[in-house]
Symmetry: none
Subunit: 243 residues, 2 copies
DNA sequence: TCAAGAAATATACCTTACCAATTGAAGGGT
DNA sequence: ACCCTTCAATTGGTAAGGTATATTTCTTGA
């Protein structure tokens, strides 16, 4: 039941070579016919593999000239090294602005849906999902798809990185009333169409999260690590950005 | 200088049909040979197009059975409908916060590199590239990878959507001195480690861009369209968000 | 009648072989 | 020194046909 299509194996091999630095950024890959011979497949199969790499953004094909390694695999590398602190800070900045914007663009039905998530947040089973929906409704209420996808991307990041999931799990379970209180403050500000307060409330929400993350990591850390953490706490704080 | 490879046009057409609902989620596409006949290309070309769609996650190929439309084209659908206004507003909000953050996290060498881009901006040939680097250096200066990738994603969006490219081209060419002045104000604020001013300067920069975009679209629009544009101008304005 | 197995069919998979279009460099003429 | 032509290398694209796999249809036996 193997039977992966042949070009995928070629894609994997070429991608590995690019990763390894065998084909540096900007360099040209061997000609189609050479690759066909090396990997013992036909030329169309090589073409398919190269198209897959092209769609993935790893290479660029120049007609009559050759296939060249693209620069872009940097962002993929970046994604792997994002910490929970960075993610939270980014969400704080972006979602605070989204909340401020939403305060003036949100519609009644969205406001109603937002209030409903607050109620769902009191039930432990649906709390996490409600949290997600709460932030997503605000993002959608901005009526700006670019902001929405930015926030969705960050959420996806949180969902997909194991280390970040672990970090959040420690934090979310504790302080349920606090969590609801913060979300309620955000809701109230948006419902009152108060952009500045909405921004502040969202900042406050995430600032508490960041500090909770630090506390959690502190609890786990050894003494010498603890000292380092304190030093960098200031770097990821957002409290000084509010006014 | 057209000469896009043939399979891309097939990809576009198939994607459009999927988008349109001609091929609903879960349904099977016509056979290779049929598609080859319909679009008047060879079967390998059809195969290439399908592989591109597969890598993009739009379809799934089942050997011996057919190629089926995949469910998860949601976010891809969103990306297609982002207007230049939305993109600019999103950049305004996010990059303004990035600038505010960078004002307290930027290092001397980054500040130096930032100043260099200002000089390159005076040369028309390198102005656009310098613009890009200017914003990228600020993003990197935040020392937050999540913010960096968010900003990079938005830039990639600007680079890849033809309609957005067109909209920006009309605007960027005009008012070079103004553009440099705005960037200089941003630089000065960051160099002075003044977060609030940096945010304000970045807001100002993008706010001018948004209005220029509206003016450009107004110039092209007919009378009745013009009226509508005026009505929605308030929706994408960010001036009310600054303090 | 119905269910299980076998054959036929439809489909994607992969290859070989060929020609066309584009690029870039080498070479020659001014 | 410069420009133009030519030519080799490369990718772009096509045609035709055999292979492997999945699905459907048909046969056959209980």
């Amino acid at each position: 039941m193997k039977s992966r299509r042949r070009f995928w194996t070629v894609v994997d091999k070429l991608e590995a070579l690019i990763e390894k630095g065998e084909y540096p950024v900007g360099s040209r890959l061997p000609a189609e016919r050479e690759l066909a011979e090396v990997y013992d497949v036909s030329r169309p199969t090589i073409r398919e593999a190269i198209i897959a790499l092209e769609v993935r953004g790893r290479v660029e094909v120049k007609t009559g000239s050759g296939v060249f390694v693209t620069d872009s695999e940097q962002s993929g590398r970046l994604l792997k090294n994002i910490s929970a602190f960075e993610l939270t800070q980014a969400r704080a900045l972006i979602e605070a602005e989204a909340a401020a914007l939403a305060a003036s663009t949100i519609k009644e039905d969205e406001l109603h849906a937002l209030k409903q998530t607050l109620e769902q947040m009191t039930v432990p089973e649906t709390a996490d999902e409600a949290d997600h929906r709460f932030h997503e409704i605000i993002a959608k209420s901005t009526k700006n798809s670019a902001i929405l996808v930015s926030i969705q991307n960050l959420w996806e990041l949180r969902r997909s990185r194991p280390q970040i999931i672990a970090a959040y799990e420690d934090v979310c379970s504790q302080g349920i009333e606090q969590r609801i209180k913060e979300h309620t403050e955000i809701y109230d500000a948006i419902a009152a169409r108060d952009s500045a307060s909405a921004r502040k409330a969202m900042h406050n929400h995430f600032n508490r999260l960041i500090n909770a993350l630090f506390d959690a990591s502190e609890a786990k850390a050894l003494e010498e690590v603890k000292r380092k953490t304190d030093e960098t706490r200031g770097l990821y704080s957002i409290s000084h950005l509010t006014q």
